[in-house]
Amino acid sequence: MNKKKNIADQINPEIRDALLEMGADGIYRCYQCGKCAGTCPWFPVGTYDFPIFRLPLEAALGMIASSEDKDELAAEIDKIYRCVGCEACVDQCPHGINIPSIFRAGRRLLVDFGSYPEILKSTVRKIHDVGNPVGEPREKRSDWARDLNVPVFEPGMEFLYFSCCISSYDPRVKSVARAVAGILQKAGISFGILQSEESCCGEAIRRIGSETVYEEVAKANTSAFERNSVAKVLVNSPHCYTSFKNDYPELGVKFDVLHISEHLSDLIESGAIKPDKEFAKKVVYHDPCALGRQNDIYEAPRNVLRSIPGLELLEVENFNHGLSVCCGAGSGGLWMEWDKDERIAGVRVTQLIDTGADVIAVACPYCLQMLEETAKSMGHDIPVMDIAEILAESCL
């Protein structure tokens, strides 16, 4: 049934108001210049039409996810979940409009009514049920550290090391947490972990639109931090970083957050860590959106790589730093499966490989998983490594 109506009939001020209430700011400032759509990673993917420059107008007219036709509606909701929250568009917009926050406003309304993709529902459900998106029991959260003598955090220790769900549970990505712990131990840093007291930071599900479950886990974390008098948190995931730094303060908690790349860079500079083994490879660094564009940390991870003897650091010219192209894993993208020829990661992997690198370096567990799996599925056998893993090879 195709009930195409004219536009006037579809305008719905009530939806506009609801979107505004949910945080869709700035929609009236948009003049549809299209700069956002030009920088959105879906543009180079090329097989999926994603005209986000129309989104602010559609929001202002209340014309989002509102088709009465079942199939059209399904396509509209799929569209709302295409945004991976990389914020490339935010940087470009001459009027400072935040497109992903408009998408998020729509998602919040949909999530409240369970009207969003099943695969994301199950991710939200797992975070609610067991505090991580993998669906593994809480008691296993510190299994990665079992044989490493990593102490439980106690008041008085300098850092809480918060190891991100992916690097705590994923059999491959665990080695990032293990590398971080090894390096910190070698440098004699005072740190501990909170084991099963930790929950997912909630960054991804907040962007998926589940404000309720986000608040649940955020409160569980902040009260665990308070209970244990945590003052400084060290993270290896830029998603934990941005969540703790930019979202958690809304809950009225005070603690400092440091991304591991910043701390490692400092430790190398002070001489506490001496990378001495050669890592004679050409390494291209991929700027994770949540670390670079969203938090301006560009140099620290590069400093870490530059300090390693034999390592030749390559750049994706024109598409690095603030212009880095997302891996596609943010805002729920890690769990979505789009058709093979409709994948953002495919674009990025090609760019990275075209630099002639032997190794792709990242500083984010999401990027690690996404780029590694995509490279494999495209038939490339280039290793993808976290900067901590590379550093560990050189200094441990």
Partner: protein, 323 residues
């Protein structure tokens, strides 16, 4: 003690396996309660069925009528309710099948007899009738107590009471109850689901996929793996519901029954409706993230891990071995 009744189930001219399972269950109960088991046979020209059941029950009560040839929940209910009223059995056993699911709750409500469906075990003593049933998708069992009543209705899950040779000499009794013309429900025909080009029942190696595969895209990886080990891909019902594979690839009670040399279950929880169709396989391997998944109770070998990690690794190992 009043008798036990057990309903004979047949379809398209053959007795169904569940019938013999019910008789096993009924004989056990009859023995414990020191009473007799009567098989209730509704059908048409049922001589052969009665012969086949001769050793299975103390008595076979036959209601022969053209209208009982094929199952019709309305006419079956009408006749069975009369049988129950006149026989006053302590327990009436019905298979937990597509027929039983329609019949038992309707009879219970009509006759005001307490009923329970999908029971794995049944026990009757001074404390009254108790049954074991599964809840929460097979993760827990419940012991359920019935309210006191002179008569009970129970449907029994298939596969819980193995069919056995009986040693009884049934007395065959024809009932003069006649079928009423059904007013509301007319049986038209049986339809076979369309058959595709792959026959999963004939393969030596079957790779079964369940909802753990997450997305349609990932099916390619499984197809590739199955091809590599000379197997075919089958699945659970949710995969058919999502239209990622055709209906003729569904394994289970409402799908096909397979008995390959090797069955590999990937991301399958192990609901009994699924295992009913594959537990006869020679060797069963299960890969599931959840250590408590019921599938590990059916499998010979298990891997508790993410199938997306295991499958590529397994593919590599097998490639290695083959070289």
């Amino acid at each position: 003690m009043a008798e036990i009744l057990a309903l004979v189930e047949h379809r398209q001219g053959s007795l169904r396996d569940v019938t013999f399972e019910l008789m096993s269950c009924g004989r056990k109960l009859a023995e414990n309660l020191d009473t007799r088991l009567t098989a209730v046979l509704l059908g048409h020209n049922t001589g052969e069925f009665a012969d086949d059941l001769k050793t299975q029950a103390h008595r076979i009560l036959v209601l022969d009528d053209e209208r009982f040839k094929d199952f019709n929940s309305e006419s079956y209910q009408q006749a069975l309710s009369q049988v129950i009223k006149s026989e006053n059995p302590v327990i009436t056993l019905i298979g937990h099948t597509a027929f039983g699911m329609s019949l038992c709750p309707a009879l219970g409500a009509q006759l005001d007899i307490p009923s329970s469906t999908d029971c794995l075990d049944i026990e009757m003593n001074d404390g009254g009738l108790k049954v074991i049933r599964q809840m929460y998708e097979g993760k827990l069992d419940a012991r359920v107590r019935f309210r006191e009543s002179p008569s009970y209705l129970v449907t029994i899950r298939t596969g819980c009471f193995p069919a056995e040779d009986g040693n009884l000499q049934a007395e065959i009794v024809s009932s003069d109850l006649k079928a009423a013309e059904p007013q509301h429900l007319k049986f038209i025909e049986y339809l076979e689901a369309a058959v595709g080009d792959v026959d999963i029942t004939k393969a030596d190696v079957v790779v079964g996929v369940g909802r753990g595969i997450k997305e349609k895209e990932n099916m390619a990886m499984v197809e590739e793996f199955a091809g590599m080990i000379g197997g075919v891909v089958a699945c659970t019902r949710p995969i058919v519901d999502a239209e990622w594979l055709p209906k003729d690839r569904q394994v289970g009670s409402s799908g096909k029954t397979v008995k390959p040399k090797l069955y590999i279950a990937l991301g399958i929880s192990g609901a009994f409706q699924h295992t009913a169709g594959m537990k006869g396989s020679d060797t069963i391997i299960a890969v599931n993230k959840d250590p408590d998944a019921p599938i590990f109770g059916e499998a010979d070998y298990g891997i508790v891990d993410d199938l997306f990690k295991v499958l590529p690794a397994l593919r590599d190992k097998i490639t290695e071995l083959k070289q």
